[in-house]
Amino acid sequence: MKSAPLIAVVGNPNAGKSALFNSLTGARQKVGNYPGVTVERKGGKMLLPDGAPAELVDLPGAYSLDPTSPDEAVTRDVLLGKQVGERLPDALLIVVDASNLDNHLHFALQLIALGLPTIVALNMIDLARRDGLELDPARLAVDLGVPVIETVAVRKRGVDEIRAALATLVTAPRVLRPGPGPSHDGFTLQRRAREIALRAIIREAPARRFNHSLDSILLQPLIGPVILAVILFVMFQAVFTGSAIPADAIAAAVTAFGQWLAPLLPAGLIRSLLVDGIISGVGAVLVFLPQILILFLFILLLESTGYMVRAAFLMDRLMSRAGLSGRAFIPLLSSFACAVPGIMATRTIEDPKDRLTTILVAPLMTCSARLPVYALIIAAFIPRRDVLPGIGLQGLVLFGLYVVGVVGALLAALVLRRTVVKGGGGGFMMELPKYQWPRLADIAIGLWQRCVIFLKRAGTIILTTTVILWALSSYPLARANEKQSEVSIAGHIASGIEVVVAPIGFNHDISLALLPAMAAREVAVAAIATVYAIDKPDDARNAQTLAQQMRSRWSLATALAFLAWFVFAPQCISTIAVTRRETNGWKWPLFMVSYLFVLAYLAAGLTYWLAVAAGLG
């Protein structure tokens, strides 16, 4: 039996490749990695009209077969059959933007010259018409020598035709087309692309009125930055306020589940493990799923509308002052969700020094794993009131923490660029894609993938560390008038850490939470919840919320110092691991961890000492 044919979806960035890929595969997708490089491999299954399966792979967008980034190198290597972990595709589905033919045909011509069975999707034909462009696909097909199909991937138009054409392509006996012809240098190819595009255009009106007028507002030197600031502010307010109801519902469900389960189990080991360890620990983290999804929703929307590149454009000059380029804006903004995809997204930065600097400061962006920690402390210690109508104090403090992270990152970049990562300094060149309405299904697929990743984390890393912590905090058992959190093994370890962190105001509970939080930051919350659950006598459980318990044990100065610590602390093993992979060695991740710990210690210390001096101790 032979395996399903492999079809590579390939094309320029912004050709609508991913939307077409989503339309063809639906939710049957698998995101993985190419071995050895950290380029994401997006694969999926589709059914051909005759019911036979085919495997699709969505290759990273590229402008040509001469790569200028690691992403583009993967695309070339797969197409030449040289990529480890991928067989040579059986067929190509080239996606070109109908309103940008002269540019996209350049790459398409290179691809067609590879000699693989090929069809071309003339995508976003509707936007081309909106731009006043009328095309002749038949003429294009003759000139290119391969079938051309008009599509509007975001509306699923032409998708059935693509499916049918792919079926013919992979089932037909392989006709060898003339292989790579006389090799063309870039200019000759570009010229041919332009000629072919010109012939395919029946009528043409001035291009891109719509985008231009929108850009005149969004890129306007005064209004543009203000709009960007407002968008970011709204995003952070939404993360906090929009998540309140679903988060409360999850919290209530977790508590109810614990209360329902507790009497059904005999008092003792198992009940303690399940109720105190797993349910209170994992439950404390699950509560933050709504916030994380709202954050990702915004990032996905900004990306799919085409606004994200505009934001990079607006920020480029400021970022260049810090020794970064506007291109770093996208990885850094993604790092608000999670530094791991953020650091992986730095591959699109061509200049190696720009890239290294971006990687080193990415963990300073407030990732979603910090949200549970921030949210818990803010809810416990910052009063819930409005500073101005509609602007809550809690949201404002959260926004402030994000700002501190950003400013910290820019300052760190500035210093790094003058010391350890000297020299270089690349440019900023990006295509400003057309504005588009985001497609619901694409956003939903993206959110679903994030949701699964988060739940997997909750089910694996967080569950494991919670259980280990529960065991370490439960033994040996405390005698009467002793505190469980102090006599247990974990208590003794924490006492050791406390010696180091006591000067910056951290108490015993925090010391206990710091170590498991290395696995994942949000575990700090789970750890505190577990410890308090174990510490409390049964009858008082549920009488107090976690926040109330913290208020009774922590001073405001300690709480603020804890927040400051988390702005800087490199508390995440996945980030360290991905940095090692991306920088090919231990040197930079070790450097990153050390400088961030020093910063965290100083920031927490300063916050604590100032707060105590201000009488908040």
Partner: protein, 85 residues
Amino acid sequence: MTKPLASLDDLKIGTRAQIASIDWAALDEGDACRLRHFGFEEGVKVEPLHLGPFGKDPLAVRVGRMTVAIRRAHARAVRVVPIAA
């Protein structure tokens, strides 16, 4: 005898022009490659559309049917002849 040509970064916003020459030697290899990929080439029509808000850098330039962002320093390497409206 030839009068000095304007460079792309001298053009006022909304001025259409045709690329006369590109000083490839002034660009590093990667940047030159990117510019070529975007379709910068002699004879192609360009038009600066927007300027970055801080220090009028970078520039958003229409090249062919595409809009791209490039830094002022790169735009300086592109010599242009304005097209009479």
